[in-house]
Symmetry: C2
Subunit: 242 residues, 2 copies
């Protein structure tokens, strides 16, 4: 972690990410004491300010517990956080981190004007073009969710539009410079027989619906997605802190 040159993100952020990955990988076990701030300063060759900034971030995320006069400790919730709902990551990555093999199967793909409801959620004018994609999400070839994603196309690079709905939604958005940094998700319980499709369509149709609006770092809405998770096939965990 040298003095850096063309780093596009802050030193403290990278340090936090590094420590975070070490915690996730088990290098630092839950409950274990992290190296002291002074040791981290020597190891990473950064100032104590930077170390403390990173630790603060991890503490606010619930990953570590900083105790005055005692040290910093890895929170006991590592395993739970790994699939934590408050962490914004693609469903594929989450499935992979849980030890399963993810796969997407596209069911429909359509370019059309935004409905009034979608326009309101995305903060665009009604009738603006969007791309709507319906997909089934599988883990180890088992259907775990059905997703309905909507991406506004205004200002979206033409050559990337065709990629939308092909591979990872997050990946394509990232390539377009519209990587989601935050998402506001509503949680609902839904019982509806018209949601899913295919041979694995669940009976009865009981789902946890995640109705999300994704925002870029600058605050503009980049996608609206409704994902219906088949109840019982996907574990939702939220770490709540104060």
């Amino acid at each position: 972690m040298s003095t850096s040159l063309g780093a596009r993100t802050s030193l403290a952020r990278r340090l936090a990410e590094d420590v975070r990955s070490r915690i996730m990988s088990g290098e630092y076990a839950p409950g274990e004491r992290l190296p002291s701030e002074a040791e981290l300063v020597r190891h990473y060759e950064v100032s104590r300010v930077t170390v403390r900034t990173a630790l603060r971030t991890l503490e606010a995320q619930g990953l570590v517990d900083v105790r005055h006069g005692s040290g910093s400790f890895v929170s006991d919730f590592g395993a739970g956080i790994r699939a934590g709902l408050q962490e914004l990551r693609s469903i594929s990555d989450t499935i992979r981190e849980m030890g399963h093999e993810p796969r997407m199967e596209r069911h429909a793909r359509q370019r059309r004007p935004a409905t009034p409801g979608e326009a309101a959620k995305l903060g665009i004018a009604a009738g603006e073009d969007v791309l709507a994609v319906e997909r089934m999400i599988l883990a180890d070839e088992r259907a775990v969710a059905y997703s309905y994603d909507v991406v506004p196309l205004a200002g979206f690079p033409d050559e990337l539009v065709e990629q939308l709905g092909a591979g990872s939604l997050f990946g394509t958005l990232d390539a377009a410079g519209l990587m989601p940094a935050r998402a506001l998700a509503e949680v609902h319980a839904i019982s509806d027989e018209t949601i899913g499709w295919g041979p694995q369509k669940p009976v009865p149709g009981l789902y946890v619906l995640l109705d999300q609006v994704h925002f870029s770092r600058r605050g503009s809405a980049v996608a609206h997605s409704r994902t219906y998770f088949v109840e019982g096939r996907f574990q939702f965990v939220v770490l709540r802190t104060n």
Copy 2:
């Protein structure tokens, strides 16, 4: 915010809490720029380190967006975060913050040995005494949730046991020095006609179940609670960040 003496919590934490409440109250509107670090230093009469520590915390919680060279901005999600699932607070407080009047109605209260499942979740020996409380949660006299709470009684002050199930669970736990600092919550969609009771029992019985284990700051489990929120009567929002 003077130099303080008997403060049981850190200066930076209190500062973050103060700024947070100002954001919530609308004193700083979503998207608006916060005072610069230098101005906050002057206003609160603390060092810049303390100000930055507080801002880091708020940033990690998703409430503010700190931009290098530009300033700190209130995130656009203030309204959504207010009822955010990732914020650990009592249901009563959440209902109040949403502008409704909360009320609890006790349905059952029983001291009994822990079931094996409860013992496992709470990390106690099977058969240890717990207090189980069933309650209905109302907002403006409308049933919004049914809760099943379990508190292990080992090491719990006798004089406070009778308070359990009377008023706020969080309040009693706080009085016992066991204030929950974190909770790990599982989210499920549940369709079950045997859950609720009373004249407002919903038909059909569709609920969002929050299956939570509450932990004290030191990591010991202080309560297990299953809360069945009537679908549609309570808005669940999660702010997801990366």
